[in-house]
């Protein structure tokens, strides 16, 4: 086990060495790479988070991942890749965060990001099929996502950005993505 860890670290260090310093310093948060619920502003996140990993441990779905050494300055901070495992909004992580980096917000007030539908990719918008998967899997169906003539439409001020829709989208090139909005 130890050998394995060391090996992966060494590999990581080599990779990190290759990466330019600006990569290691800039935030890893981007499209479909999100902070857990209740996160403070991204400018403050790395400073407040003590990399204790409790949120990662508490997550029953293994949604939260810890960034490794390749993330440089941001190594050890938690992120969610909704394409792999989205956030099911159980809100366990915010309860265990010892520093308030993940603030205790209500489920409906979470703003991990905003779902954006690409109308040029979505087969329902392209009138090729009747797919409603993103609508079906949304925990705030009819509030955060609605159907306009059976086509999905995101309600911007209600979407929590949990990424269930991204995970569910059946297309090989996902027609829906989560854009981070850097607070809560």
């Amino acid at each position: 086990m130890l050998k394995k860890i060391l090996f992966s670290l060494a590999a990581g260090a080599v990779e990190a060495g290759r990466a330019s310093s600006s990569d290691a310093q800039s935030s890893p948060i981007k499209t479909n790479v999100l902070r857990p619920p209740g996160a403070v502003k991204e400018d403050l996140f790395a400073a407040k988070c003590i990399r204790c990993g409790r949120c990662v441990e508490a997550c029953p779905y293994n949604s939260i991942k810890m960034l490794d050494i390749r993330a440089g300055f941001f190594a050890g901070t938690p992120v969610i890749y909704p394409q792999d495992i989205p956030c099911y909004l159980c809100m366990k992580c915010v309860e265990v965060c010892p520093t308030g980096t993940l603030q205790k917000v209500k489920q409906s007030e979470v703003r991990m990001g905003l779902a954006v539908i690409d109308h040029t990719l979505c087969i329902t918008w392209k009138l090729q099929a009747l797919c409603r998967t993103c609508y079906n899997v949304c925990p705030y169906k009819e509030t955060a996502i609605k159907l306009d003539q059976l086509r999905p439409v995101v309600v911007e001020d209600k979407c929590v950005g949990c990424g269930l829709c991204v995970h569910g989208c059946p297309l090989p090139t996902k027609a829906i993505r989560i854009e981070p909005i850097y607070s809560f």
């Binding site: 060495g17 990993g53 293994n62 991942k65 050494i69 297309l171 090989p172």
Partner: protein, 800 residues
């Protein structure tokens, strides 16, 4: 790179923590779906899934299926498909496909591969032995509304005329037997009068007990289109205890307590009569009033009115609970009666009831009362769940009490007619109907059935209270043959598993909800040694004839011997069925030969007695003179409609005076919740097919229980918590979804999950309608309690 020692330690802690947490198991690998540019040939066919009957085109690249698409201009789906229909080519070369016959002598042994010769020999020997030792009643066939018409037809022919057993059943008993009962008792003829075309002419839609937005999405789209084209004029009423995606376009959602639907329907009739909104002319010309009982008595309009006196809107509203008020019952009745064309849609919510036939009758009553029948945009339209429940099973004789061509088995004249047409001696088909589904599997439990053939369905998962019936199927003295394409919960209990060809790997006809027959011709080869069912039955019957030394069994398949199983064999079976059996019946299909069906991209709607009529698409509306050739033929006067249905000799429609009756099991202090089950758009039945399409499985990997937020708050259940659903029959543990769907005091679970913990039919109730013998899946009593917080669950599909 600037990095302090401290950072490095932190990072390594982080990395080890990440390793300890484990590797992500939820990653579904999506193979690159082919785009339309990759396809070098498109082949026409019909969708494999629900009863809508969408026309599809299968895209081939170098002879392999790579894509599916809709074709604009199709009469059923207007070019639209749902995700299931768009992706089913993905399972055709799935590694789990069964490729060789598998056999085991005892059910606790592992399967071993054997040859077809051996497999058919064993199947024939076991059935022959059962017949010899225990009589013809000890063998049974349990089919499916997903079999091709040719398959159901030849199976039931061999069972009835060959083995002299009426134990021919199928899963349509679980889904539309009540609709059959309703149509026959009210209209005298099975299957809807109108067609989907009426949607574009209707002004009021009454949707009760159907979540068509999920279960029949393409039809729902047509309905929605109609509503959006004329948002002010077209009204949609949805009556359902659960707020479903279907309710979202409704002008009015009537949310009644589960099981009070009969009262609601009677109350609407009360209002229509009270406010004099009924069509006197229509009633006088075409209808009779019948009071059930032994014997059935003829009554008049006044008696009908008197019997409805119990169902005042005020009284009914307090009975129905939910959001129902006397005023909205009145309003719904007015919308229904006064529109220029009202179309009702219903499905399992009405059929899967202990009084499903009555509920069907009461919907028909509303249509007869208001004359909302036969005119454009007006129909009482039962939706069907399976692609060939209508065409194969209802018309093809796939249930224990009916012979092909809508002939009840107990009527001597009709039975002898079939015997003569088949060229078997009279008296060969027993007069007594066989076991219906629940009785059949009860007989398996009791050891009365010694050999059973299960084709293209998985009763081990789809029967209500399935644990009870799985015990019987697991008995060592019950020999079980299963014909399947994938391992299922039922193959786990089989002795002999025979691999079959899938859709587009064999030729045959599907008949959808609107009496439309569509042909799908073999396009690709089945994997391994998988064979079409028609071939299997023919070869099996020939061996049976030998083993039982019975020339009549051979006679059943004699016309088909030596024909090529990919096209000529199903064609010969179809020809025998249509040209001989349907001739002169209400589902006359003589015009719809394979040649015609190959020309007609959208198939043919029966009655289609002649080729000329079939080439025009057949009959869009039954019973209307000038449209339906049989109506012209049977006409005795110059009234515009002729109700010539075979079950009503007087050619009248019957009003039935049916009282309100609740569910078989209502909640009480011990089990305080209603449990209802249903479907979701991305899955199909037991998930043996859709569960193997990663795109669909990713979105809906496992079943969950929908709980109303108010109930959840009261019981301390949070989203994702594991919840135990307990009924008198057992328990399931599922994750909770807190959602304003089911009304307060009701929970909802979808049944597409093979995992033992989440297979909801282990807890549903097997009480059934005494008329249609259809079980009441939709209502039973349960209690729910929180077991733990959220847990990571894994999707589960049975493997061999």
């Amino acid at each position: 790179m600037a990095m302090t020692r401290r950072d490095f330690i932190k990072a390594s802690a982080a990395a080890s923590a990440a390793l300890l947490v484990g590797i992500n198991p939820g990653k579904a690998k999506t193979a690159q779906a082919a785009t339309t540019q990759d396809v070098d040939k498109w082949v026409r066919g019909v969708c494999r899934f629900c009863g809508v009957g969408c026309r599809v085109e299968l895209g081939l690249k170098d002879g392999r299926p790579v894509a599916l698409r809709g074709v604009s201009g199709s009469k059923t789906n207007l070019g639209f498909l749902c995700m299931k229909g768009m992706l089913f080519h993905r399972i055709m070369y799935h590694p789990d496909r069964l490729k060789k016959p598998l056999y085991r002598e005892r059910k606790d042994q592992p399967f071993k591969e054997i040859s077809w010769e051996e497999a058919l020999d064993i199947a024939a020997a076991k059935f022959a032995q059962a017949v010899k030792e225990h009589g013809p009643e000890s063998v049974a066939y349990y089919g499916s509304g997903q079999c091709l018409t040719e398959e159901t037809y030849i199976f039931q022919k061999v069972m009835r005329a060959g083995l002299r057993s009426n134990n021919v059943e199928g899963n349509p008993r679980l889904c539309m037997a009540s609709a059959v009962g309703g149509y026959l008792t009210s209209f005298g003829a099975d299957e809807p009068i109108g067609a989907y075309e009426d949607i574009e002419k209707a002004y009021c839609f009454f949707i009760i007990g159907s979540n068509m937005a999920e279960a029949h999405p393409v039809i729902f789209r047509r309905l929605m289109r109609r509503k959006l084209d004329k948002p002010q004029e077209v009204k949609v009423i949805n009556a359902d205890p659960r707020v479903s995606p279907t309710s979202r376009i409704a002008d009015m959602h009537l949310q009644f307590t589960p099981g009070t639907d009969l009262a609601l329907l009677n109350s609407m009739a009360y209002v229509i009569i009270e406010e004099k909104l009924y069509d006197e002319e229509f009633i006088k010309n075409y209808c009779k009033f019948k009071k059930p009982g032994k014997p059935v008595t003829d009554v008049g309009f006044e008696d009908y009115k008197a019997y409805l006196a119990d169902y005042t809107p005020e009284r009914t509203a307090s009975l129905c609970g939910g959001n129902i008020t006397a005023e909205n019952i009145r309003q719904a009745a007015r919308m229904f009666a006064t529109s220029r064309g009202t179309m009702s849609f219903w499905c399992m919510g009405i059929n899967q009831r202990i009084r499903g036939v009555w509920a069907n009758n009461l919907i028909h009553n509303l249509h007869m009362l208001t004359g909302q029948l036969c005119k454009p945009g007006a129909d009482s339209f039962s939706l069907t769940g399976q692609p060939n429940a209508c065409g194969g099973v209802r018309e093809g004789g796939g249930l224990c009490h009916i012979l092909p061509g809508h002939r009840p088995v107990k009527i001597d004249k009709l039975r002898h007619q079939v015997e003569d047409l088949w060229g078997v001696p009279r008296g060969r088909i027993p007069k007594k109907p066989g076991y219906h589904t629940v009785a059949m599997f009860s007989a398996v439990n009791e050891g009365k059935i010694k050999a059973i053939w299960i084709n293209c369905t998985s009763p081990a998962q789809s029967l209500p209270n399935c644990d009870k019936y799985r015990k019987g199927m697991a008995r060592e003295d019950v020999f079980m043959v299963v014909t399947e394409i994938f391992p299922t919960k039922t193959t786990e209990l089989a002795n002999l598993v025979l691999p079959t060809a899938f859709h587009f790997e064999k030729t045959g006809v599907y008949g959808c909800t609107e009496r439309r027959s569509q042909l799908t011709v073999k396009t690709v080869d089945a994997p391994g040694e998988a064979k079409p069912e028609v071939w299997i039955v023919r070869e099996w019957a020939l061996k049976l004839a030998e083993k039982l030394n019975d020339p009549v069994i051979k006679k059943c398949v004699e016309p088909f011997v030596g024909l090529d199983e990919d096209f000529d064999l199903p064609k010969a079976i179809w020809d025998e069925y249509t040209q001989k059996i349907t001739a002169g019946r209400d589902n006359d299909l003589r015009g719809a030969t394979y040649e015609v069906l190959m020309q007609m991209a959208d198939g043919v709607q029966w009655p289609a007695p002649t080729k000329e009529h079939a080439l025009k698409g057949g009959t869009y509306k039954k019973f209307v003179r000038g449209i339906d050739p049989l109506a012209d033929k049977h006409a005795k006067d110059d009234k515009p409609y002729v109700f010539y249905g075979p079950a009503h000799k007087d050619a009248k429609l019957y009003f039935w005076l049916r009282p309100y009756k609740g569910a078989a099991e209502e909640p009480d202090s011990e089990y305080p919740f209603f449990l209802s089950t249903g479907r979701i758009i991305d899955h199909w039945h037991t998930t043996s097919m859709t569960g193997r399409i990663p795109e669909l499985m990713r979105a809906n990997p496992y079943a969950y229980v929908e709980i109303n937020p108010k109930d959840a708050a009261r019981l301390g259940i949070k989203p994702g918590d594991m919840v135990e659903v307990t009924t008198r029959r057992g328990k399931c543990v599922l994750p909770a979804k807190i959602y304003v769907g089911p009304m307060e005091g009701m929970v909802f679970v979808y049944w597409h999950d093979m995992h033992e913990d989440r297979m909801i039919n282990r807890v549903t109730k097997d009480a059934f309608d005494p008329g249609s013998k259809e079980p009441e899946f939709k209502i039973c009593a349960c209690r729910i309690s929180r077991v733990s917080g959220p847990k990571q669950l894994r999707p589960f599909i049975v493997q061999m």
